[in-house]
Symmetry: C2
Subunit: 433 residues, 2 copies
């Protein structure tokens, strides 16, 4: 092969890498097309099958051994990190593609990414088609382009570049395209339930740096009851929309408490506001001239590592009910707090692990500068790899406007991450020519 | 006939009334059944045809001349009291049933009622089927039972009782079953556009007293824009749900201003809080982990007679934009205020009119006590009769929980109103045997 040393016939590692990196570039139009085709398949929660079929077909085309696995609540619900949900997984699948080792001696690697994306509303705030995958300059636009189909493309084409050079792997590489990361993590949990493990994992979420730690994330719903009436007697009724603000105030106080510098986990020492409480939804009422009976808040609460999810649930409940005590109506008609979806504890990355060092070093060599190390104020499925005792890395492409209109991913960053992952496969898993 | 004076053969007016009142009682089971059948036909906005077909068929069965008339925006949109809407009237009808005069000499009368009802949400707060029309003791339950199918039943069976006694009318009586009263008033406006007028009108809305005046009512929608983001960076995004509270505060200040005692219209002198601002709907967000981009408020604002709707619209707009000035984000991204639906000015009832005196006196005679006179803090379609220069009355059955779960109407009150309307037909329109 072209990377062999002409004088000796021996293949040098630098030569192998150079060859694979050229292959990444050769395949990059195809990779961009693959990314675009993923973006063009809307994959909101519950609607992930179209993109999963596309990914499964693509991975089979790349010669991987592909299985499509449903999520079995009976299997996962007793496992650590399970998040109770009240939506259905019926008919939905993870796609797991495995490249078998051609020879022994290396280590196995999981490249994990989620295909589910968050809603696009309101569509009129988009200046491009959210499902179009339009490319303008270095940016590829669309819901999920950055979070995280760009990372999936990088993982798939890193492996493809290695294999397209005719190199054999000395360990297994598994591509996991999972669902439900944006709301629970149960997709990756299910992959574990089905026995998929490896010696290390990389999750190329849109973290254009080396993740060191993550906050925990809990979702809760708060149901506030008012006393409905005709608007003509609104002043003697109880409007739950206005009572919701009592609850929001209590949640903001909890947020301030969670962010107090003296409570700061060491991993978040340099972060001004690690714990974000987000009022993601408030819905109340169906008729302007009726005082609503109910108001429902959907809240996402970030909290620092070291607090157990059940403890945090209790603190949330106490904060809401404590706030309610300050309001005469809510004292007698306390809000109902329920939990569904994210029940994720904060996680830490072992920055001393070999896989961490390899990714960091390969990025430095290929980008010309060391990546920064940062904790993240969101979460990712990394925690499940931690539960399994596997070293894991959070590192991926750069983009902006995640969870907002006009989300985009930087294609040069996708290319860079593809190169970093490809060289890391060579280093961690090992190849033979 | 049995009410004739046996000695002379002449029919006394007291005898006629006694006969008609007995007929009301005889027919009351049928009237209750009619009311129940109306309640069992859900007639939310846009879904009124089923009940209208039922009413049309019933009125035809009673020998009335019935027309079903669509609403023609081209006809009504230039008329006083038109409320611009962005919902469709396509395929929807008013039902107008007319009992022709058998002889000349009397005066004509319109009995007007709306068939549209407000939403039932949340259904789980109902202890009965909202569309069941269940009777428990004297109460008939269901959405619209009180507001205002009970009043329609009273109107229909008042006329039916008179006609069932073999009496001929000396003036025309028209039953108008209109749509869109709960959101615009365009149904009654359309009846005027089609030429239906009379010498007086009674609207048996759930006003168990003699209405003297009404507030104006305006609906507006306020669109608040935030800056969406991933919840992980919520603290540096702008959540429009929380900005909505700036707007709500401004609306509450407007409400306080509207209710200031020194601004009180004389008709509302004894009313503590005539002007109700109701935040009927607040909807924002579709995902707990995304900071929403937008928040929409649907607001109903009551205001006193003497203020023109366009002036009130401007005051609402100024209140919202003035409140926005106090917030840094909203100053740069002001809320958008739009108007659709109710654009109703306050109205006064001529308490010196003969029709008013007749209804009041007939109630007193039949109930044994004078009805109270009260202004109402809502509105009703009476204003259109005022625009047409017609004397009009607002008086109808008693019930509770209008626009709320477990709405009910008191059946004895429906019977009383039926009796009052029947005797008022005799007095105002006149009958011959």
């Amino acid at each position: 092969m072209e990377t062999s040393d002409q004088a000796t016939g021996a293949v040098t590692m630098d030569g192998v890498k150079a060859s694979v990196l050229r292959k990444v570039d050769e395949l990059f139009d195809e990779e961009t097309h693959f990314l675009r085709e993923m973006v063009r398949r809307p994959s909101l929660r519950g609607e992930t099958n179209l993109v999963q079929q596309f990914i499964a077909k693509s991975l089979r085309g790349h010669g991987l051994n592909v299985v499509e696995e449903g999520l079995d609540l009976g299997k996962i619900s007793a496992m650590r990190g399970y998040a109770p949900v009240d939506w259905s997984y019926e008919g939905l699948v993870n796609v797991i593609g495995t490249a078998r080792a051609a020879a022994p001696g290396g280590r196995s690697l999981i490249l994990n990414g989620h295909v589910d994306v968050v809603p696009i509303d309101p569509i009129e705030h988009w200046s491009v088609d959210p499902w179009g995958g339009d490319v303008v300059g270095n940016r590829l636009y669309g819901r999920g382009s950055c979070d995280m189909k760009g990372g999936i493309a990088a993982a798939v084409y890193a492996l493809r570049a290695v294999q397209s050079c005719g190199l054999g792997l000395t360990g297994e590489v598994t591509i996991e395209a999972v669902i439900d990361e944006e709301c629970s993590g149960n997709g990756t949990l299910s992959a574990f339930a089905n026995g998929h493990t490896a010696d290390a994992a990389i999750i190329p979420e849109p973290f254009p740096y080396m993740v060191t730690a993550s906050t925990g994330v809990i979702w809760c719903r708060i149901h506030i009851r008012g006393r409905g009436a005709h608007a003509q007697s609104a002043s003697s009724a109880v409007n739950p929309i206005e009572k919701a603000y009592v609850v929001i105030k209590a949640l903001r106080e909890l947020e301030a408490e969670l962010n107090r510098p003296e409570r700061r986990h060491p991993s978040f020492a340099g972060v001004e506001h690690p714990c974000n409480v987000n009022i993601g939804m408030l819905h109340s009422g169906t008729w302007p001239s009726s005082v609503p009976e109910t108001c429902t808040l959907h809240v996402r609460i970030g909290y620092q590592p070291g607090i157990a999810p059940v403890e945090m649930q209790e603190r949330i409940r106490q904060a809401v009910l404590g706030g309610a005590q300050r309001d005469e109506w809510l004292r007698g008609t306390p809000p109902h707090v329920e939990f569904a979806g994210f029940l994720a504890e904060g996680w830490l990355v072992d920055t001393e692990s070999e896989i961490f060092a390899l990714v960091e070093r390969n990025h430095e060599q290929l980008a010309g500068a060391k990546p920064s190390r940062q904790p993240v104020t969101g979460t990712a499925d990394n925690r499940y790899f931690g539960f399994a005792g596997m070293p894991h890395v959070g590192y991926g492409p750069y983009g902006e406007l995640l969870h907002a209109p006009d989300e985009w991913v930087d294609l040069e960053s996708v290319r860079l991450v593809t190169r970093v992952l490809a060289t890391t496969i060579i280093d961690w898993v090992g190849v033979i020519s």
